[in-house]
Symmetry: C2
Subunit: 653 residues, 2 copies
């Protein structure tokens, strides 16, 4: 350590992921609050700025930080281009500010001495020396005035204490002996990383008529239906050749019949592996047309990346060193002893050829990126090495900052967070299993109100082809609607697996939390025009999401108290736009209660009268203050999605 | 980033101060729990150890970590010599453990295949290759048995599943592809850093007879009195020559009369500065005798380090560059505008000669260290640069690991924590001003139950020469006794300023929270033999502290609920020794309530009957479970200091 003149400490930077080992996440159109404890020794005032720039850039853009309380400082920044950035905080003793504070005290006590003004003149001259021409002239004049003994000392002090003087001095502070933090990484993703609505469908079940294997063209034909529901991401399960060896049959049967199509996640066969297309779906040219057609429908295609191989995958023979070989010479299949999954060969991340394996996997992403795909749902990332993901996602997003990856892990909390830290853009959550008020509150409080919000972007799914909870199995339409509204309003990113969701498919294979006749193992034909379909309601919910910026981000999330354990209330806010959601968690009975609103979170004052307009139900209520009555019948609609409107000042009270 | 085979992540290490920028603090005789999130990809088991060594050492001592819950792992270590250490965590895939777990599942399902045993044999051979001779033979035999087809496969599996096999395998795991954290600094102080009882007295007021300036010999004569109260640190305010220029008079008067002695904190005069001794106190030889005499009385002398100068300090002429010079050529005195402290010149840490200033200040410590002093109470450290302290305290404690420094800052919370981070051993606290139950709970929860406990060692003082709160001014004997018991049982480090404390001096200078006729500005004569003196009670409290290891550390601190806002209960525990303190905060009225004890913290089971024996009052009560009645009359004794004794199993219930 060398001898220094620094006197300011900067601690506890936010956002900061694992002490700065990983970049924090932000997105285009999202205000990021940078916070830090900034304080000096003694009682001198300090000043601080946050600076940011593209990683390794040469110049810093800066925003002044403002003090909150208890030596905490903050500034809000917004970055307009996706990419890698870094930020830092610079703090210094505010010498002119301290002098002016003391001068004001001396003025009030009438104890100003000539030397006090001379000290100020010296400080002002120091600032003038580094100011632009205009300000230099102004400040030089001020310095001269301060030591002009022909003017009354109190009058000279008052001149120095003018507000515009403070601003001019702050603008050019030479920051003597400033303290500068190490730069902290900030990854700025495009806006869709923050706000997206996913719809999953199996292309092979997309044929208009029963009995035919669906194709990419059938998916194109389905697009108006998906677009009309207001989704923006169309996610397709794996589109690759499916293995024949140990192929699974209907309902996960150990052996498939001769005509059974197998699971799309058993990747690889005679027609190729992770960069090939299952012939019955179409050609690469067809896929490219599909990607283009999606764009025309305001949709974006997400592909599935499942890094595992069927025994027929070309890599098994080309790169046996990427798999685990057993003492008997066979390749190790997936197991959860005593269960065996002989149709799947996991990759061995303890291979002697990590470079070969890692680059091959990275090249799979690259191949589909080259076809125009920019969104990937990644299957079971927690069964691959974290350091691989860190390298791979870093490599890809540095070259393609618009790539979005969704981590499909429903494993332990620390592992799910690690995957987000190492670079996944979005993450599946425990949403499907959080049904009680206390557990929903606990979970989303952790996601939104701790530092998890700086790296983990939750994407809430009520169900997936693998997950059909008892809640949806038995809750009926109220459960489906309630989960839809919760997913769509709790988190800015959400998705459903369709058409199973909108058709409220709810029959499970006995003993499993999984669909009966699961589409993973067989081709379905869907009759979309059923009267009970939720498609119209879904369209309304997505339209609300698109119309309300409040629902397009997570950082403003706030809970509101309701004195009924079946009623859950929370709000989000973006500028003037405020959305307050109240949900009845009871799928059977009408519930009522009294709110105790966090009025500050809603931008309301204590005694203000305001209107809450239910964007779902269309009804408007007049509310007043924190305490209001709310009642919800789940058989009418299990949720209110309120927008808040202060009452016009001329309205009767 | 290079390609690796690592599969284990280690995150969120504890203790960790500011991401590892500062060492965490531990002490001799103190168990330190090292915690970390340790997890791998997939479902394989992991194993982890914590390693530690002297900083920059060549070999690591190790302790195995055990899993708690939610992927959290921990190990407790204890270091026996003061000094600088570093620790790290190593984690790896527990390949033999995973294999054994899976083997047990296969055994239960009767699905063991030869290949499963052959895989195990290979893993066991890998361990054998790095084991000591005895274990190598055992493991080689096991490997041979595993592939011995003449033995029943289930029997072979059972052999591998024996407990001692697990221990042998774990002992020699080759830790393939292990993940190792960066080393984290750990500063181990001697035991007194953790557990100390301070007594402050002004030597010049120590004369046996009135009207005479006290000397070091008078302090020696006072030692039996201090020792009999059970203190172990005898802290002397500055012993240096006192400036004459602008000397303060009695009660902080701006001008001193000709015979007034001045404040010991106005350091420096014709007789020298920070390394000189005020002639009326004695000589350096006298001080050395005092230091030796203290040792004979089981006391250790603490000196005051106040880095500020009177206008008469030799540095003012020898090193004017270390002070701030004003435009009129004069040196800047201390100010809090409009208040002026013309008797004090602050040092300027923005001097052009930081090396000269820093080393001169460091040499002040060194000078007194060379005289045998090892404890320093540092006056107003927050008015000196943090980076100076970091350098100075690091430099000193590396050469003298037994040096203890107490930070005398009562400023803002973040600044007090920063001083602890940069290296102060102990810190004064807001204890004197925390009187209500909620604010005591809030404050000590922050100190003990957050990461603050890893670097900030609180030292609780009910009063100091500068601080006499309204609570003590008006609370009478109950307030003094209650603050004494709280200071002595809340924190392992505490102190009092005497004899003002034991004589319950409580008259304040009007308009100030400070003693009337403050000893800082005048010489007192103390009549110690007053019947109301708390000396005997203090002796009893300190004896309890010495007899109970539970009170000699802070890390085991736990609150206990009492359903009365005037009753505060908390416990500490060290091994079998448990101390539960219950205090009545109401200085006027008897208060009663029911406890809801944290039985786990007390080492008790749910329905256990036990005795609580009041070490202060001598009474024993029989309690049962969490819910017990407690009543305290502040005029008898405002606190119980209970030791907990499980009832002998033979006792009637």
């Amino acid at each position: 350590m060398t001898f220094t003149n620094r006197r300011v400490s900067i601690r506890d930077l936010r956002p900061l992921v694992d002490g700065g080992r990983f970049p924090a996440k932000a997105s285009v159109g999202e205000a990021v609050t940078v916070g830090a404890d900034v304080f000096g020794d003694s009682h001198d005032l300090v000043a601080a700025v946050v600076g940011w720039r593209p990683e390794g850039g040469t110049t810093w853009r800066e925003a002044p930080m403002a003090p909150l309380a208890n030596d905490r400082w903050a500034a809000t920044i917004e970055i307009e281009e996706p990419g890698r950035y870094e930020y830092r905080v610079v703090g210094w003793i505010d010498r002119t500010g301290t002098w002016r504070r003391d001068l004001a005290a001396r003025l009030a006590a009438a104890t100003i001495e000539e030397v006090d003004l001379a000290i100020g003149a010296g400080l002002v001259r120091e600032v003038a020396a580094v100011a632009d021409a205009t300000d230099r002239r102004r400040l030089s004049e001020l310095a001269a005035t301060l030591v002009d003994a022909t003017i009354d000392a109190a009058d000279r002090a008052r001149t120095a204490l003018a507000d515009d003087v403070a601003a001019t001095l702050a603008r050019h502070d030479p920051r003597r002996n400033a303290t500068t933090t190490e730069p902290v990484g900030l990854r700025v993703d495009r806006a869709r990383a923050r706000f997206s609505s996913w719809y999953e469908l199996f292309p092979r079940s997309a044929a208009a008529e029963p009995g035919r294997h669906g194709t990419f063209d059938d998916v194109i034909a389905r697009m108006p239906y998906v677009r009309d529901m207001g989704f923006d991401v169309l996610y397709l399960p794996p589109i690759h050749p499916i293995g024949v060896a140990h192929r699974k049959g209907a309902d996960n049967a150990v052996h498939a019949g001769p005509d059974e199509p197998g699971s799309p996640w058993a990747i690889g066969g005679a027609d190729g592996g992770h960069t090939a297309i299952h012939p019955e779906l179409g050609t690469l040219a067809d896929l490219r047309r599909l990607i283009a057609a999606a764009r025309d429908h305001d949709l974006e295609v997400a592909l599935d990346i499942a890094f595992q191989c069927s025994p027929d995958h070309p890599w098994v023979t080309e790169h046996p060193e990427w798999f685990t070989r057993r003492p008997d010479g066979t390749i190790q299949y997936a197991e959860n002893p005593p269960k065996k999954y002989q149709d799947i060969y996991p990759l061995n991340f303890e291979t002697d050829d990590p470079e070969g394996l890692w680059t091959a996997l990275r090249d799979v992403f690259q191949y589909w990126i080259d076809q125009g795909v920019r969104i990937f749902r990644v299957d079971n990332p927690h069964t691959k090495a974290f350091e691989f993901w860190q390298w791979c996602l870093d490599d890809i997003t540095r070259r393609h900052p618009d790539v979005i990856t969704l981590s499909e892990a429903f494993t332990r909390p620390k592992v799910m967070k690690e995957l987000a830290r190492v670079g996944f853009t979005q993450s599946y959550t425990y949403f499907a299993w959080r049904n009680e008020k206390w557990e929903i509150e606990q979970y989303y409080t952790e996601l939104f109100e701790t530092d998890v919000v700086d790296y983990f972007r939750p994407n809430s799914w009520p169900q997936t082809p693998d997950i059909l909870t008892p809640y949806l199995q038995h809750g009926g339409r109220p459960a489906f609607v309630q989960k839809l509204v919760l997913a769509a309003t709790l988190t800015a990113n959400y998705g459903i697996y369709g058409p199973a969701f909108e058709l409220m498919l709810h029959e499970a294979r006995p003993g499993a939390e999984e669909y009966r006749s699961n589409e993973k193992y067989e081709i379905h034909h869907w009759d979309l025009d059923q009267p009970h379909s939720l498609a119209e309601l879904i369209g309304r919910v997505n339209a609300i999401r698109h119309a309300h910026p409040a629902l397009q981000q997570d950082r403003s999330f706030r809970w509101h108290h309701v004195d009924n354990d079946q009623l859950l209330a929370f709000s989000k806010r973006a500028g003037d736009d405020v959305v307050l959601t109240v949900v009845n968690l009871d799928v059977n009975w009408r519930q009522s209660g009294r709110t105790w609103l966090d009025l500050d979170a809603l931008g309301l004052s204590d005694e203000e009268r305001f209107e809450v307009h239910d964007l779902l139900g269309g009804v408007t209520y007049e509310w007043h203050g924190a305490d209001n009555f709310v009642e919800i019948d789940p058989h009418v609609c299990p949720a209110h999605v309120f927008t808040i409107r202060p009452r016009p000042s001329g309205a009767a009270t």
